[in-house]
């Protein structure tokens, strides 16, 4: 089925109806989201008038990546329905099997509307052509690992296809068509967005030498997280207790005033939403983050930061007020280095007290996700050795939206 993953408008909670329930599923594994889309094409097969082709695409794409870091390859599966007319033509040429490859043109479109082209090569394994009627072909493949340079929510769109197919006769030899190439053009007017991917601020701010070193001032963390809805993969039976939603989480944290630069945040949110009330509980997992920062205006510092949720987040999603949530986290600084030399940190370096975080998102969309922002206080650090005096105490500050 086609999923409304890419709807731009907010899906008001009140309109989430039972018909959606079958599409909502549990979280996929380890950071990668499964996105699905169904698109209509017109294909130029040999010998034939242009033929319609319906393509169902499923892709494993992380909801969040760090700018300029390798994304890893995206796994793609696609199934195409070959209609009876095209199948009849293949049979008329004594074709009994078909195999080959399908290349989809895809684009990563950044928030500033610049884009990069991404080839999506897939393999169509050899399969039998039925003696009557149309048939489905299934292709699998993966993209090259990308490096996305622009921070913000990028869209991944799917474009035209090129099929390279080899039918074979019963003796396994080439038919009269030999190998043929077919271009399939997307029917205009469709939403061709397959996925969104949040590119978070990267490492590597160039040190800016300055003559006057300023004394350390109190750093202020600010966290902005963007939660991105992960599309449903397998229907999950509805339970009276609520519907599982899962989101990728991305954002950034800064240790303001002490340093320049941001630490990318990534993670996942598995929420369970009760449709009747809009109440939800969510398990939040935030990956350890690290980044290269500049301290004192010139000192290159690398820091690792952990944000460990201590309890499940609780909150409410309502059409009128949007999303509100609260949770408790403990901030840890396992490592802080300057010029590669440990300055402090360590497994015991953490905030003395948990931080209470209140997150809000005025226009959060249960299916699409949205930007959550929150303001919170972090208590004095403890167990950080040398850094205790420099970084502590941390105080709350208004969150800023990541790029």
């Amino acid at each position: 089925m086609s999923l409304r993953l890419t709807a731009r408008s907010s899906v008001a909670l009140a309109t989430v109806s039972a018909s959606l329930l079958g599409a909502l599923v549990s979280a996929p594994a380890a950071g990668a989201a499964t996105w699905q889309s169904t698109l209509d094409y017109t294909c130029r097969f040999p010998l034939m008038r242009p033929q319609p082709l319906k393509l169902k695409i499923s892709a494993e794409i992380p909801a969040t990546v760090v700018a300029n870091a390798p994304t890893g390859s995206f796994k793609i599966t696609a199934s195409a329905a070959v209609n009876d007319a095209a199948a009849t033509a293949l049979r008329a040429l004594f074709s009994t099997t078909i195999e080959g490859s399908a290349d989809a043109a895809a684009q990563v479109v950044f928030p500033d509307n610049t884009s990069i082209d991404v080839g999506v090569p897939t393999t169509v394994p050899k399969q039998a052509i039925p003696t009557s009627g149309g048939f489905e072909t299934n292709a699998t493949g993966s993209t090259l690992s990308l490096r996305l340079s622009k921070v913000g929510r990028a869209k991944i769109t799917v474009g035209d296809l090129v099929l390279r197919l080899t039918p074979r006769s019963a003796d396994g030899e080439l038919t009269g068509l030999s190998e043929f190439e077919t271009e399939c053009f997307q029917v205009p007017g469709q939403n061709n967005q397959l996925a969104t991917i949040d590119v978070t601020s990267a490492t590597g701010v160039t040190p800016t030498p300055t003559a006057t070193a300023k004394p350390p001032v109190t750093p202020t963390p600010a966290i902005t997280a963007t939660a991105t809805a992960q599309p449903p993969v397998t229907p999950t039976p509805t339970t009276p207790s609520g519907i599982p939603y899962s989101y990728g989480l991305s954002g950034s944290a800064t240790l303001k005033t002490l340093t320049k630069g941001t630490l990318p945040l990534s993670g996942a949110v598995d929420a369970n939403l009760k449709l009747s009330t809009g109440d939800f509980t969510a398990k939040i997992g935030i990956n350890e983050t690290q980044g290269n920062l500049v301290a004192l205006g010139f000192l290159p510092v690398s820091a690792k930061v952990q944000i460990l949720p201590l309890v499940d987040a609780t909150g409410n999603l309502s059409p009128s007020t949007g999303l509100t949530a609260k949770t408790q986290v403990r901030i840890k600084l396992p490592e802080v280095k300057a010029f590669g030399i440990p300055l402090g940190g360590g497994k015991d370096c953490q905030a003395k007290n948990p931080s209470q975080i209140n997150l809000t998102s005025p226009n959060f969309d249960a299916l699409e996700g949205g930007t959550l922002s929150g303001v919170f206080a972090i208590s004095d650090l403890t167990g950080c050795g040398f850094l205790n005096g420099i970084i502590s105490p941390l105080t709350a500050a208004p969150a800023t939206r990541s790029a």
Binding site: L93, L174, E179, E181
Partner: protein, 411 residues
Amino acid sequence: MFNAFKNLARATVIGALLAGSIAGTASAAPAIDWSFGAPTPNEAADPFYTPPTSIPDGQPGDVIRARVAPAGPPTARELAAAWQVMYLSTDPLGNRNVVTGTVLVPRGTDLTKVPVIGFAPGTTGPAFRCTVSRWIANGAFYEQAAINDMLRAGYAVAITDYEGYHENPTASYINAKAMSSAVLDSVRAATRLPEAKLAANPKVLLRGYSQGGGATMAAAQNASTYAPELNILGVAAGGVPADLVKVAIANEGRAGFGFVLNAWIGLDNAYPELKLDNYTNALGKSTLANMEANDCTLELLLNYAGKTSDVYTGDISPFSEDSWIERVVENQLGKVKINVPVFQYHGTKDQIVAFSQASAARTAWCKLGVNETWKTYPVDHITGVARGNADVMAFLADRVAGVPATSNCGT
């Protein structure tokens, strides 16, 4: 309508200009009209194909219209630059006509050194939407794999559409004389299209399968008289329909009967005196009108299999008439010596173009002293489209390399 009028006006202007300039330079090639828009989808109108109201003066093979066109699907476009051309040629009655086609040149090579292959396409059908150059531009041509192989091997390729492909088409399907001129002049056109940057007198090879096999052999037979300046080094032809009567008889009530009906239309278009209408019944008239308006290869193959002539005719079959038989006989192949090495091949299970008549033509050419290499494959006609390709490419490469061809006549 607007396009048609506009085109008519343009054609008239060109004709007038040329008429005015001819007096001074009788042998000058006509100017090439580059003003036509891009190729259109197969189903759409396209005035590029509409013949000029008066045919410009010039020699057979002179290009009178040209435009840039896609070389085919993406791989072909990477391999080659391509143009659609309209060139002067000669119809089966010996009158001047215009024919369209495609010229493809490989990228990244010294084009003044590449040999040119005149590729004679197989049957695409009588309707305007089936025009070979339109199929190539729109990715529907079923012999694209062979074209790509030739481009990869570094050949330029000239591909005729054959005569009569335009709105309200009048294709003289499978007519040996028309095909011969169309193929030979397509090669001339390729060398005379300045933008293609080919040598003026390059090494030339001819090849084709099925209708294209017949066209290739017809062109090979006529080359020394019709286009003696062409430096043809060898030809390769498969699935050759050398004797249309035998091909037609073998298709009565069989798989390829649609091609026989198409040949009726082709003969009627080539020779107005045949008056096909005098032989067809009401069903025949409507069937053939629909065929000429709509049918391409696949429809010819699927929609008429198993049919017989008597369904479409009155009491008399056109092929029982002397007037028809005379025209068929004058287009039979195997009666004229070919002066360059020949590779002829055929599927032993050919269900559409009878094996026996091709084998007989081979024997006839051998008797005429043709240096012929004959090869068979255990395949049907359709599978044979691609099966001989590797052997064809090897044979042609040997001719370019100057390797002597070894005839197997007598075996």
